[in-house]
C-alpha cells in the first residue's frame, strides 16, 4: 500500500519543525549590533510569531519576556498590554514600546528563546500588533541609528570658558564663538554667586548643571561645572554628555 504524497510531504516537514522548535527553546542569537538594530530584531521576532508564545529576550544578564499571540504583543517585561480599562490604548502602546526600547538599549549580544504561552491567554487579548509598535517606534526615531557617542571627554567639549571671581571671563579651549555672550555669562555668574550665599538649594561644593533643549535632548548643550572653587562654562557637543557624565561619576568615585 502506498502512502499518499500529501502525507509524505507533511511527514517531511515535521522533522525540520521539531528541530526548529528545539532550537527556539534552547535560544538563538539575533544579528543586531546597536540599540536600534536590537529593537528592530525584537519586532521582527514578534512579527514571525503566530502561535501563543513567550519570547524570552536576553542581553547579557538582562531578560525581557514578551508574550505574543498572532504577531501581537500581549505582555512585555511583565506588564500587561491588555485588560486595563483605565489606561487608554495609545498609552498602553507607548508603554509597551518604551519597555522594549529600554531593554533594547542594553548593550550586548541579543538572544531569544521561545516557550508555549500560558493557557490563560485568550482570543480577547488583542494586545498590540507588531506593525502598530513598529510605526510608533519609527515615529519616535527609535529605529534610526542614534547619533554616535563621543567617547573622549576632551572631544565632548566644543568650547570652554572659566568664570573668574572678579566677574571676568577667561576663554580656555575651543571655539569661543560658540560660547554664550559675555553679558550672558556675567548674568549667569551673578546668579551662581547668589546661590552660593543662600542656604538653599543645597548643591554642595561641586555640581555640574547641563542645560539643553527639552524637545531635542541629543543636540548640543551648555554645561556649568562648579568644582574646586572654579566655575567652567562648556559648550557640549551632540553625543558628548555620556562621556562627560561618566568622567564626573568616576571623579566622585575617587572621592575628589
Amino acid at each position: 500500500m502506498s502512502i499518499d504524497q500529501g502525507v509524505m510531504d507533511i511527514l517531511a516537514r515535521i522533522e525540520p519543525r521539531t528541530q526548529a522548535r528545539a532550537r527556539d527553546e534552547a535560544g538563538r542569537k539575533l544579528e543586531a549590533e546597536t540599540g536600534a538594530e536590537r529593537l528592530a530584531a525584537i519586532l521582527d521576532e514578534v512579527a514571525d510569531t503566530i502561535l501563543p508564545r513567550v519570547l524570552q529576550f536576553r542581553i547579557g544578564d538582562t531578560l525581557c519576556d514578551v508574550t505574543v499571540n498572532s504577531a501581537r504583543v500581549v505582555n512585555a517585561g511583565g506588564r500587561d498590554a491588555v485588560n486595563s480599562e483605565e489606561e487608554g490604548r495609545e498609552a498602553r502602546l507607548q508603554r509597551v514600546a518604551a519597555v522594549l526600547r529600554a531593554f533594547a538599549m542594553v548593550d550586548g549580544p541579543l538572544q531569544v528563546s521561545a516557550r508555549p504561552a500560558d493557557d490563560s491567554l485568550t482570543a480577547d487579548e488583542v494586545g498590540h500588533i507588531e506593525r502598530e509598535l513598529r510605526n510608533y517606534c519609527d515615529g519616535q526615531g527609535w529605529l534610526a541609528e542614534a547619533p554616535s557617542r563621543i567617547e573622549s571627554p576632551d572631544l565632548a567639549v566644543l568650547a570652554n570658558a572659566v568664570l573668574l571671581d572678579d566677574g571676568g571671563i577667561e576663554y580656555q579651549d575651543g571655539d569661543a564663538a560658540l560660547l554664550p555672550t559675555v553679558d550672558g555669562l556675567k548674568v549667569l555668574r551673578s546668579d551662581l554667586d547668589g546661590w552660593r550665599g543662600a542656604s538653599e538649594p543645597d548643591l554642595g561644593d561641586a555640581y555640574w548643571i547641563v542645560m539643553n533643549d527639552a524637545d531635542d535632548p541629543a543636540a548640543s548643550a551648555i554645561g556649568v561645572c562648579v568644582e574646586h572653587g572654579r566655575t567652567d562654562v562648556q559648550v557640549i557637543a551632540p553625543g558628548g554628555l555620556w562621556a562627560l557624565a561618566a568622567e564626573w561619576v568616576a571623579r566622585r568615585g575617587e572621592g575628589e
Binding site: 483605565e86 489606561e87 487608554g88 498609552a91 507607548q94 508603554r95 518604551a98 519597555v99 529600554a102 538599549m105 519616535q140 542614534a146 557617542r149 554664550p180 555672550t181 553679558d183 550672558g184 555669562l185 548674568v187 549667569l188 555668574r189 551673578s190 546668579d191 551662581l192 546661590w195 538653599e200 538649594p201 543645597d202 548643591l203 554642595g204 561641586a206 555640581y207 555640574w208 548643571i209 547641563v210 542645560m211 539643553n212 533643549d213 527639552a214 524637545d215 535632548p217 541629543a218 548640543s220 551648555i222 562654562v233 554628555l241 555620556w242 557624565a245 564626573w248 561619576v249 566622585r252
Partner: protein, 123 residues
C-alpha cells in the same frame, strides 16, 4: 490617567529613577510625587527650590540657545543625577526626576521626553 499614575509610570520607565516630583513653581510646593522609598518632606522641598532656581534663573535664560526653546536641566551632584523639565504648555510647573548617579544620561533624557508628553495628556 491621574497625575499620580503618570508619575508612577515615570518612576518605572525612566532608567535608575528613584523619585519623580511635580512641582508648582509659584508656591514652591511639590504637588505630587512618586518614589521608590519614602522621602522626607525636606528633601522634596529642596527639589522644589532647585527647580524654581533653575527655571527662574536670569543667568541660565541669558545663556540659553533661544528664548522660545523648552529648557531641560540635568544636575549632577555628589550622589545623584536630577533632571528638571517643564511639562508641555505648562510654564508654572516642573517635573523633577531624581536618578542614580550612574544612570545613562542619554537614555534618561530620551525617556523623560516621552514622559513629559505623557504628563501633558493628564491635563
Amino acid at each position: 490617567m491621574s497625575l499620580k499614575e503618570a508619575l508612577n509610570r515615570g518612576l518605572n520607565d525612566i532608567p535608575g529613577c528613584r523619585t519623580v516630583c511635580y512641582v508648582d513653581m509659584p508656591s514652591g510646593l511639590v504637588l505630587s510625587s512618586s518614589s521608590r522609598r519614602p522621602r522626607p518632606q525636606e528633601v522634596l522641598d529642596r527639589i522644589a527650590v532647585l527647580a524654581g532656581k533653575l527655571f527662574q534663573s536670569e543667568g541660565f535664560a541669558a545663556v540659553a540657545d533661544g528664548p522660545d526653546k523648552a529648557r531641560q536641566f540635568t544636575v549632577f551632584g555628589q550622589e545623584n543625577m536630577q533632571v528638571f523639565v517643564q511639562p508641555q504648555n505648562d510654564p508654572e510647573h516642573v517635573l523633577c526626576y531624581v536618578c542614580d548617579m550612574d544612570a545613562d544620561p542619554d537614555l534618561v533624557a530620551e525617556q523623560v521626553k516621552s514622559h513629559r508628553a505623557l504628563v501633558a495628556e493628564v491635563f
